[in-house]
């Protein structure tokens, strides 16, 4: 029978048992001298009660000392362990030992105020200290790096340094692979071939760390495969590890939530043994001290299940932004929150030039475009002018210009060219007012493809049978990527009766056909001119040549076109960048990476960035491998400007969802995997099959302390 303590450091509390003695010795009150005539009676009374008083005093003393000592011992959590039959079956003698220390994310779980990793490290060091002088040892830290171990040696100091220097990381670790590496290390030394092989695994027994569907590690010897002895030290001591985690976070634009509205979906999982109701979920926007709570919600979690919670949030302004969804902090804090860095489309100022105005609104050339752009959830703010008024407009005030069936821009053509060259966007649609040849002369430099002739596929009155339809749509193009699933029907069902055929593009002015008609003629063509973009739609923007304006796809398409042309569609999501994965940081020309600000707010300078694997990526960006989950911010220095944290470069890192699943393996399952009770045992678990059986002495001590408390009260009364 061995007595062990879960929290041996708390044994200092035993000193409290000396308090009653100290009080008795040092704080004894001096008796007050008082003349009293009936002193004989006091003497007689004392003689009669002295024995009883002395016994009472001793009992009182004992009760007080016992109360403090029992409470202090109970806090240290003593356990009496009786080695079981399996322990007896394991051969005794010199063994080569490999100690595997689990440093995966779930080991950050705090049980009774202490991280499981620290307990496991103490277990591993204890196992090392228990080895005999003739037993060689090695250690494997099962964490971020590929598991590897030196052959067992007698340099205990080196093994201790490996264990003491180990750090728990936030990612996943494959314990099966680590035990395999340990067994290979044990088998690698021919000099120790005769020694029995022993593997000690200090872990939390979470099921996700093991792959029990592969053969157990074994040592090939002259007498065939030999299974090593395996001792699993359960750092959780048999306790369940309930855990709530945000396992996924995604944000999609949601026009229903208003301009810059997003639908944020968080997946929350529970590895708890019981269902939880009304778990608080908090959505905050912003990073660092400026972060503010946007939404508080509640979720009901089934036992061991995952639920998805959708929240709508509209950003007050466009640009780079950070979102964070957090649960109340629990024992495994690293997965209680997830962050997401994204770029919210900023407001687009659009000038819509109406080439064929009409007093009847729905016959107006710009009616449908303007309605689409000015809808309540639109990030676009359109300004409508007719072709004559274009000459008086200052284009510098706009991000995008829509030329809708404009016969001629006249002298404004040169300014339009400059506007596009400097980063502006231009949308062109044609119609009855447009002469393709004149257009080619006037706006030739801007057109992605030169216009040729007007083609009539059918007359609007002839029915839809011969009308042209969109085909070969570049669905992955940012401007069209919103059309997914059934939404694509809204685009593919568009009937176009007349359109302008385009000639192949000239050299040096490449054009991308985003959609073409079913006869192969380009329908939607993108071209780049300088820093700007041009989109050409070869049909009309009203219902004269096509029925697109009355299709459901028209409104989102126009808004997306405006966003794309203004360069405001670069939505960026940190999808599934898990701890340990490489992150590419793309700096603008002239920018220099200074440091990274981690989730803890600490700045990682050059030396630390090198340890994080900072290097050149294949596509020109800088790559780094962050190992802490949370929001990372990038500090850069640009030419002529000081150092600053660049919001557009912020990125989030998520913990590995496998580490959030803290459901534990049954000890007998693990011992069975390693060859049964004759080869393996799990220590530190009350339910260990075939292993030691332990009695939680602390509960007895607590009962004793309570009894002492009542006895003390009784004696005082």
């Amino acid at each position: 029978m061995n007595i062990g303590f879960l929290n041996p450091a708390l044994l200092w509390g035993l000193l409290a048992a000396a308090i009653p003695v100290a009080i008795h010795l040092f704080f004894r009150r001096r008796p007050r001298p008082t003349p009293f005539p009936a002193i004989d009676f006091i003497l007689r009374a004392r003689r009669e009660t002295q024995r009883r008083l002395r016994i009472r005093k001793v009992l009182l003393f004992t009760a007080r000392t016992l109360l403090l000592a029992a409470a202090a011992l109970a806090i240290a959590r003593p356990r009496a362990e009786r080695p079981g039959e399996a322990a007896a079956a394991i051969a005794v003698g010199p063994r080569a030992t490999a100690i595997v220390l689990d440093a995966s994310g779930s080991m950050r779980y705090r049980l009774d105020g202490r991280a499981l990793f620290e307990r496991a490290r103490a277990d591993a060091l204890g196992a090392l200290a228990a080895l005999g002088p003739d037993e060689p040892a090695t250690a494997v830290v099962c964490g971020a790096d590929t598991p590897a171990a030196e052959p067992p040696g007698f340099d205990r100091g080196a093994v201790r340094r490996v264990l003491e220097g180990a750090e728990v990381w936030a990612g996943h670790a494959d314990l099966t692979a680590c035990v395999g590496a340990a067994v290979r290390a044990l088998a690698s030394s021919e000099a120790q071939a005769r020694l029995a092989k022993h593997v000690v695994v200090a872990t939390d027994l979470t099921a996700s760390a093991w792959r029990l569907d592969v053969p157990p590690p074994a040592i090939e010897g002259p007498e065939g495969r030999v299974l090593p002895e395996v001792t699993v030290q359960d750092a959780a001591r048999g306790a369940p590890l309930p855990n709530l985690a945000v396992v996924a976070l995604d944000a999609e634009p949601d026009p229903a939530a208003g301009p810059r509205g997003y639908r944020i979906t968080a997946a929350v999982s529970s590895a708890a043994g019981e269902a939880r109701k009304d778990v608080s979920l908090q959505l905050s926007a912003g990073a660092g001290p400026g972060a503010k709570t946007a939404i508080r919600a509640f979720v009901d979690l089934p036992a061991g299940g995952t639920v998805r919670k959708a929240l709508s949030y509209a950003f007050p302004q466009g640009g780079p932004a950070v979102l964070q969804v957090a649960l109340p902090e629990d024992s495994l804090a690293m997965d209680d929150a997830r962050a997401l860095a994204l770029v919210v489309p900023r407001e687009v100022r659009a000038l819509v030039v109406d080439g064929a105005p009409s007093p009847v609104r729905y016959r107006d050339e710009a009616y449908f475009v303007e309605s689409a752009l000015a809808s309540p959830a639109s990030p676009v703010r359109p300004t409508l002018v007719d072709a004559e008024a274009l000459a008086g407009e200052d284009l510098a005030k706009y991000d995008v210009v829509f030329l809708l069936n404009v016969r001629s821009v006249g002298a404004k053509a040169a300014e339009l060219e400059r506007f596009v060259e400097n980063g502006g966007g231009l949308f062109l649609s044609v119609g009855d007012e447009v002469d393709p040849e004149a257009y080619g002369r006037e706006l030739g430099k801007l057109l992605p493809m030169p216009l040729h002739v007007v083609k009539t596929a059918a007359n609007p009155g002839d029915g839809s049978a011969r009308a042209a339809r969109f085909a070969d749509v570049a669905w992955d193009h940012p401007a069209l990527s919103v059309f997914t699933g059934d939404a694509r029907e809204g685009l593919l069902g568009v009937r176009t009766f007349r359109y302008v055929l385009a000639k192949p593009s000239q050299k040096g002015a490449p054009a991308t056909v985003l959609a073409s008609f079913d006869d192969g003629a380009p329908a939607l063509v993108e071209g780049r001119r300088g820093k700007g973009r041009v989109l050409l739609f070869t049909s009309s923007a009203d219902r004269d040549w096509t029925d697109w304006p009355i299709r459901t796809s028209f409104l989102p398409a126009m808004q997306r076109f405006a966003g794309f042309l203004a360069g405001a569609l670069e939505e960026r999501h940190d999808r599934a960048l898990v701890v340990g994965a490489q992150r590419t940081i793309r700096l603008e020309p002239g920018e220099r990476l200074v440091s990274l600000l981690g989730p803890d707010g600490r700045e990682r300078g050059e030396a630390e960035l090198e340890r994080m694997g900072l290097g050149e990526g294949d596509d020109g960006g800088l790559v780094v491998t962050p190992r802490e989950p949370g929001l990372w911010q990038v500090k850069v220095q640009a030419e002529g400007r000081g150092e600053r944290v660049e919001p557009r470069l912020a990125f989030s890192v998520s913990p590995d969802p496998r580490e959030s699943d803290t459901r534990r393996l049954a000890p007998d399952e693990l011992t069975a995997y390693f060859g049964g009770a004759s080869h393996a045992k799990v220590e530190g678990d009350a339910q260990a099959v075939g292993g030691g059986r332990s009695i939680p002495l602390w509960s007895i001590l607590l009962v004793l302390a309570v009894a002492a408390f009542f006895l003390e009260g009784l004696l005082i009364a």
Binding site: R29, P31, R32, P33, P35, F36, P37, L43, R44
Partner: protein, 301 residues
Amino acid sequence: MPDPKRPLLDPAVLAKLGTLKLRVRAVTEGILSGLHKSPHHGQSVEFAEHKEYSPGDEIRHIDWKAYGKFDKYYVKRFEQETNLRAYLVVDASGSMGYRGAPERLTKLEYASSLAASLGYLLVRQQDAAGLVLVQGHVAGAIPPRASASHLGPVVEALEAAKPEGETRLAAAVDWVIEHAPRRSSVIVFSDLFDRDDRIVKKLAQLGRRKHEVTIFHVLDPAELEFPFDDPTLFLSMEDERQVEAHGRDVRKGYLEVMQRWLEETKRTAAEADVDYALCRTDRPLDEVILPFLARRERSAA
């Protein structure tokens, strides 16, 4: 709490009166104002009853007026003249100097007030009162006399008495036996904390010599209730003994021992036909004196 009707009899009020004389005056005035129908109406000249003459009766006591009325001889009978001699034995040992609270009288002051008041009342009804002061031995004695002028020295002697020495009432018993030639009343004022456990029996010896013995057992409330809670070093008031005890620990035992002792003292007194009265020094003096006087009156009748 002083009695609003008799403020001068309350010990707390008496304690504020500087001298014993003032206290005696306050006590006796208080008592006399309460005796509206005093049983002390007759001295030896008071007529009591008529009795038919029989041979042997004094002829000079024949009531001739009654003979004129009834034609029979009737003899006048009078209250028998009693010239009582009372010895006031006051214990002035060290233990009598105790008071449990500063606002109370010491036991000696209380006993002195009692003795002096009784002395005054006795002298006022023509009885003789003397004083015996005991401090381990008889420290002073004033023979009994029935004159009012005699009361002055008694009060002065009581006032001058300082509590010291040990309690040894046997010395007083011996003194009274030696100096009281005829039947007397011996009134003892003491806490009875005598080394001799059988002191009450010793006092009862006086009864066998036809003396009438009364014990006023004067005790402080603190001695009866033991109100000590803290660790205390108890110092003897009569010798060098001292004992350290936690008040809370010994209270129960002390009260048991005290109760046993009081019961035994009372029982012994009753067996020996000794009049016994327990006097708490926080009780008004008339509560002690009036019952005593009433008892005396009953026994005289």
